[in-house]
C-alpha cells in the first residue's frame, strides 16, 4: 500500500484518487465524494510529515467507505431513501481505528439498500457497474467498494458481509475480500442488517494489505458486546501457518456439480493442482447440511432484518413522509416510501417467520439447522486445515438478469452464507478470468479465529 511521505504527499495521493473517482463516474461507485474533507485531512497529514511527527501506518492512504458505516463526513444512507439526509453525529469504531492510522476517506460507496442484495441493483441510487464489464453487475451488496478497489481508485475499501456481501463482489471484480470470524471487528456504528451474522471486513489488492487492515481494526470494543478480545495480533497456533507441505486442504464434493459454473470449477481444480505441487494434501469433504444453509439463512437473516429495521420509522432521523395526519400514517407512509422492494420482501418474510404460529416451524427450525451447519464445519476442520470453494455459482451476471426473481438472486449466495451462519472466516481470492474476461473467484475458509492464517495461506495461492 502506498503511504504518503515527503516526496509523494498525502494531498497528491488523495487528489489522484478523487480524479480517478470522477473519471469512472459512469460506474456509479460513489454516493458521496469527500473532496473538501479529504484534501483538508491530507494537508494535515502532510504538515505532520513535514514536521517529522508520527503519522500512522495508513498515512495519507485514500480509501472508500461503504455507505452503511457511520461517520461525520457526508450522509450515511446505506443507499436507502429512508436514511436520506442523515448526517451521523458519531463515528463507527472501524472508521475511527482506520483514520487514527492516517487513512483518508475519499468517498462513500454504493450498496444494495441496507445491504440487501447480491448485485448492488437494489440501491436507491441505481446499480454500480462491474469493473470488467459495464453490462454486468458489480456483485453485492458491497458493489461500490469492490469496484472502487478493482479500478484502482483507492488502495482499500470497507465492506460488510452478512451472507457474502464482501466475498461475492470481490470475486466478481477480481480482488481480495475478507469476511473475518464473527466478532473480530466491532460492528459499532455500522448500520445493522442481521446482528448474528454481520461482519465488518475489507477489499484489498493484496493479502499483505488485508493483514495490515486486520491488525489495525480487530479487537474488543466496549461499544459492541459481541467483539472478541484481540486474537489477530496474538501469536498462537491459530495465527501462524505451519509448513505448507503439511497442510490439508478440503474441497466440498457437494459443490462439484452442474449447479456451479464449469470455468469456476476449473479454476478451483487448477488451484488444487498448484497446492498439490507444493506438497499440500487435498481432502474431499462431504457436507450434506450445507445444502440447507441457504434456506436457514433466508429465515434467520430476514427475521433479524425485520427487527433491526424497525427503528426506521421517520420519527427521530432520516426521511419522514410529509403530510401524515396521524402517527400510523406517518409510520406507514415513511416506511412504504422509504424502503426498496427487496427491503420490503425481507422485512415481510422476517415478520412471517417470527409471527405466532410460524416461529417454531421456521425460525426455531432454522436455528437448529444452524447448529447442524456449525457441527459440520467443526467435523470438516478435524479433517483439514482450510477449505477451498467457489464464492458463488457463477461469475458476474448481466444487469437486470435476476432482479425480478428474488429466489434466483438468493441462489447467488448458496456457497457464501454457511460461513456467516457458522461464524467462520472466509477470504475471497482472485482465480483468473473466464473466456469472456470476467474475473473468477474462490474462497478460502478456516475455523474460527484462523483469519491471519488464511491470509498467510492466500499468499501461497497467487
Amino acid at each position: 500500500m502506498k503511504t504518503a511521505n515527503k516526496k509523494v504527499t498525502a494531498e497528491r495521493l488523495v487528489r489522484d484518487a478523487l480524479e480517478k473517482a470522477k473519471h469512472f463516474a459512469d460506474y456509479n461507485i460513489f454516493t458521496f465524494l469527500n473532496e473538501e474533507g479529504a484534501i483538508k485531512k491530507a494537508r494535515e497529514i502532510d504538515a505532520k510529515i513535514a514536521k517529522g511527527e508520527e503519522v500512522g501506518r495508513l498515512a495519507g492512504v485514500p480509501y472508500a467507505l461503504k455507505d452503511n458505516f457511520l461517520s461525520r463526513e457526508g450522509e450515511t444512507t446505506a443507499s436507502a431513501h429512508i436514511l436520506e439526509g442523515f448526517v451521523s453525529p458519531i463515528e463507527a469504531t472501524a472508521v475511527k481505528k482506520i483514520e487514527a492510522e492516517g487513512a483518508i476517506m475519499i468517498g462513500r460507496t454504493n450498496l444494495d439498500a441496507f445491504a440487501h442484495g447480491s448485485s448492488t441493483e437494489n440501491s436507491y441510487f441505481g446499480p454500480t457497474l462491474n469493473s470488467h464489464d459495464k453490462n454486468c453487475v458489480a456483485g453485492g451488496s458491497s458493489g461500490g467498494s469492490a469496484v472502487a478497489v478493482a479500478l484502482d481508485i483507492v488502495e482499500f475499501a470497507t465492506g460488510t458481509d452478512t451472507g457474502g456481501s464482501i466475498r461475492q463482489p470481490a470475486a466478481f471484480n477480481g480482488i481480495y475480500g475478507l469476511k473475518p470470524t464473527y466478532g473480530t471487528i466491532s460492528r459499532y456504528g455500522v448500520v445493522a442488517m442481521a446482528s448474528s451474522t454481520d461482519c465488518i471486513g475489507f477489499f484489498t489488492k493484496t493479502p499483505e494489505d488485508m493483514d495490515l487492515l486486520m491488525s489495525i481494526t480487530s479487537g474488543q470494543d466496549s461499544k459492541d458486546m459481541t467483539t472478541l478480545p484481540d486474537y489477530y495480533n496474538e501469536d498462537s497456533e491459530m495465527s501462524s501457518l505451519a509448513d505448507i507441505s503439511s497442510l490439508r486442504v478440503g474441497v466440498i464434493k457437494d459443490f462439484d456439480n452442474e449447479s456451479v459454473d464449469e470455468e469456476i470449477r476449473g479454476a478451483l481444480k487448477k488451484k488444487c493442482e498448484l497446492l498439490k505441487s507444493k506438497g499440500c494434501e487435498i481432502v474431499e469433504l462431504e457436507m450434506p447440511s450445507l445444502k440447507y444453509a441457504l434456506a436457514a439463512y433466508y429465515i434467520i437473516v430476514p427475521a433479524e432484518i425485520a427487527s433491526n429495521l424497525s427503528r426506521y420509522d421517520g420519527v427521530r432521523y432520516g426521511f419522514r413522509a410529509e403530510d401524515s395526519e396521524d402517527l400510523d400514517g406517518l409510520y406507514e407512509n415513511t416506511r412504504s416510501e422509504g424502503f426498496m422492494p427487496e427491503n420490503k420482501r425481507r422485512i415481510m418474510i422476517g415478520n412471517f417467520v417470527l409471527s405466532s404460529g410460524f416461529y417454531d416451524a421456521y425460525f426455531l427450525k432454522a436455528a437448529k439447522a444452524r447448529t447442524l451447519i456449525i457441527n459440520e464445519y467443526e467435523k470438516a476442520f478435524s479433517k483439514c486445515d482450510f477449505i477451498l470453494t467457489p464464492v458463488s455459482p457463477n461469475p458476474a451476471f448481466k444487469l437486470g438478469e435476476k432482479i425480478n426473481d428474488p429466489v434466483a438472486m438468493y441462489l447467488e449466495d448458496m456457497m457464501s452464507v454457511s460461513l456467516n451462519l457458522a461464524g467462520v472466516p472466509g477470504l475471497a481470492i482472485p482465480a483468473g478470468k473466464n473466456k469472456t474476461g470476467l474475473p473468477l473467484g474462490l474462497q478460502l475458509v478456516g475455523p474460527r479465529r484462523s483469519d491471519k492464517k488464511i491470509i498467510e495461506f492466500a499468499k501461497e495461492l497467487i
Binding site: 452503511n68 458505516f69 457511520l70 450515511t76 446505506a78 436514511l83 442523515f86 451521523s88 453525529p89 458519531i90 463507527a92 460492528r187 459499532y188 456504528g189 455500522v190 448500520v191 445493522a192 442481521a194 446482528s195 448474528s196 466496549s222 461499544k223 459492541d224 458486546m225 459481541t226 427475521a303 433479524e304 425485520a306 427487527s307 429495521l309 424497525s310 427503528r311 426506521y312 420509522d313 420519527v315 427521530r316 432521523y317 402517527l327 409510520y331 415478520n351 417470527l354 409471527s355 405466532s356 416461529y359 425460525f363 436455528a367
Partner: protein
C-alpha cells in the same frame, strides 16, 4: 350469586442503578429536562448496540432472592416488537424465553403466601405527552432497567391485592434495588382479575387493568372490577376479555383502545447480547448483600412492638435498621415515638432522611425510664434529635440545654413544696384537701410545677404534698 375473584398481578419495578440498562447515561431522570438522559443507543441511531449494565444483573439477583425465588443459572434477552414512539428501536429488549428470576413467593403480613411465577429484566419505554394535534416524545426513561414480577393467580380480594403490592414494594425497598418512589412511577402494577362462581373449578374471563401506580388505586380498581363483573355475571352476560384503564378521579375502569394486530410481538432472541450464565458464587455473594427483610423484623419484634405499629414502621427500611440497634428494653418506647412522628408530623419524610443515632435514642429512652424526662419533654428531645445540627450532642445534653430535665432531688423538691405551701393563695386548697377534697391535689401539684418551671417530677411532688398535708 356468590363469586370468587381470582387475581394475578404483574409489577414493574424500576431499578435504581446509576446508569441505564444498555447505556452509560444517568438513570435517574427525576426532575431533569426532557431528553437530557439519552445516549445514541437509547435514541436508536443506526448501528447502535446495547451495552449491558452488570449492576442490573446483580440487582435482579437480589430482587429475586428477596422474593424467595430461584435464580436461573442461564438466562438471555429477547426482542419484543411493536411500533410506538416510546420505543425508539421498534422493539423492547426483555426476557421472554429464559428469564433471570424463577419461581418463588411473597409472604404477606397475614401469613398468606402469594407465589411468584417468574420475574425478568427488561428496558422501560419512553414517555409521550399528547396534545390536540400532535404528541411530544421524551426518551429519558428509555431503557431504565426494570424487573417485571409476575405473580401466580393466588390473590382473592382487593385487600389482598393491596397487601401484595405493598409487600412487594417493601421487599424491593429493603433489598435496595429501587428508589421505590411511586409518585414518579418507580413501581407500576397491571392487575388481571376474573370472577368465577364460588366452588367452580374453571376460572372466569379476565380483564386486565393496566398501569396502576399506587396501592390504593390497585385496591379501588379491584373493588370496582369485582362489582362490575358481578353485575355482568348476575345479568347472565359475559365478561369481555380486554385491557382496561383506571381513573383515580372517576373511580372507574374503562376499556382501552387496542390495535388488533398489536398482539403479535414476534419475540426473537436478542442477537446483540451474549447469554448470561451465573455461577453459584456470584448468586450467593449477591444474596449475602441482602439486609434483614420485613419477615426477619416481624420475627424479631413480635411481642416487643404492637403489630399495627410494626406494620407502620415496616414501610421504612432505614428506620427498621435503626430499630435493630435499639436496646431490647427500649424498643417499645422508641417504636412508639417513631410512630407518633410518622403519623403526626407533616414532614415525616424529611424527618426520616436524617434519623437520630441509636446511641442517642437509647439514652433518651433511658432518661424517660428513669423519670429524668417527662413524656412531653421526651418527645421534644426526640424531635430535636432529627436535626442534623444536633448530631453528636447527645440526648442528655440537649435535654439539659433545653432545661427539660426533671427535678428528682427530694430535698430540693421539698424546699419548693414548702415555699408553695407557705403562700397565702394555697391556704384554702390545703384546708380543702385536709377536709377530704381529693381533687385539689391537682391544683397544688400544678402550683409546684409552676414554681419549678416545669422541671419537677409530678409524681414525686404529689407524694411529698400528701405527706406534708396528712
Amino acid at each position: 350469586m356468590k363469586y370468587t375473584p381470582t387475581i394475578g398481578i404483574e409489577c414493574h419495578v424500576q431499578l435504581s442503578t446509576k446508569t441505564k440498562l444498555f447505556s452509560e447515561v444517568d438513570n435517574d431522570a427525576r426532575g431533569k429536562e426532557p431528553n437530557s438522559c439519552v445516549s445514541p443507543v437509547d435514541y436508536a441511531l443506526p448501528g447502535m448496540l446495547p451495552r449491558l449494565n452488570g449492576e442490573a444483573i446483580k440487582f435482579a439477583i437480589r430482587a429475586g432472592k428477596a422474593m424467595n425465588c430461584e435464580i436461573n443459572r442461564s438466562s438471555r434477552f429477547d426482542r419484543k416488537h411493536y411500533f410506538y414512539p416510546d420505543s425508539p428501536k421498534g422493539y423492547q429488549i426483555t426476557q421472554f424465553y429464559a428469564p433471570i428470576i424463577g419461581a418463588g413467593y411473597v409472604e404477606l403480613p397475614s401469613g398468606t403466601k402469594i407465589r411468584i411465577e417468574h420475574a425478568h429484566l427488561e428496558g422501560d419505554a419512553g414517555k409521550l405527552t399528547h396534545f390536540d394535534s400532535y404528541s411530544l416524545v421524551d426518551l429519558n426513561r428509555v431503557d431504565t432497567p426494570l424487573i417485571e414480577i409476575v405473580s401466580m393467580p393466588d390473590i382473592h380480594s382487593a385487600k389482598e391485592a393491596h397487601d401484595y403490592c405493598k409487600e412487594l414494594w417493601r421487599l424491593m425497598c429493603f433489598a435496595g434495588v429501587t428508589h421505590g418512589d411511586l409518585y414518579n412511577g418507580n413501581m407500576r402494577f397491571d392487575v388481571n382479575i376474573s370472577l368465577a362462581p364460588e366452588g367452580a373449578e374453571k376460572l372466569g374471563t379476565r380483564a386486565e387493568i393496566k398501569n396502576l401506580n399506587s396501592f390504593r388505586s390497585v385496591e379501588r380498581a379491584v373493588e370496582y372490577e369485582i362489582t362490575r363483573q358481578t353485575k355482568i355475571l348476575d345479568a347472565g352476560e359475559k365478561v369481555v376479555q380486554e385491557t382496561r384503564g383506571w381513573s383515580d378521579a372517576t373511580g372507574k375502569t374503562t376499556p382501552q383502545r387496542s390495535k388488533e394486530e398489536a398482539k403479535d410481538y414476534r419475540y426473537m432472541p436478542e442477537p446483540d447480547i451474549p447469554p448470561i450464565n451465573l455461577t453459584d458464587e456470584l448468586i450467593e455473594a449477591e444474596a449475602a448483600k441482602l439486609p434483614l427483610m420485613p419477615v426477619d423484623y416481624r420475627k424479631r419484634f413480635t411481642g416487643s412492638i404492637n403489630n399495627d405499629i410494626l406494620e407502620i414502621l415496616l414501610d421504612y427500611p432505614e428506620l427498621m435498621r435503626k430499630m435493630s440497634e435499639i436496646d431490647e428494653k427500649y424498643i417499645k418506647s422508641i417504636a412508639n415515638l417513631f410512630t407518633s412522628v410518622l403519623l403526626a408530623e407533616e414532614k415525616s419524610v424529611e424527618y426520616l432522611s436524617s434519623l437520630p443515632d441509636a446511641k442517642d435514642l437509647n439514652e433518651l429512652a433511658q432518661m424517660n425510664e428513669q423519670k429524668e424526662l417527662s413524656s412531653t419533654a421526651t418527645k421534644e428531645v426526640f424531635l430535636r434529635l432529627f436535626d442534623p445540627q444536633m448530631k453528636g450532642r447527645g440526648a442528655k445534653n440537649i435535654a439539659k440545654e433545653l432545661g427539660l430535665m426533671q427535678e428528682n432531688d427530694l430535698g430540693a423538691l421539698e424546699a419548693i413544696v414548702d415555699a408553695v405551701l407557705a403562700k397565702s393563695e394555697t391556704k384554702k386548697a390545703q384546708d380543702d384537701f385536709r377536709n377530704g377534697e381529693e381533687k385539689v391535689i391537682g391544683f397544688l401539684v400544678g402550683q409546684v410545677m409552676k414554681e419549678s418551671k416545669g422541671k419537677a417530677n409530678p409524681s414525686a411532688v404529689q407524694e411529698i404534698l400528701r405527706k406534708k398535708l396528712s
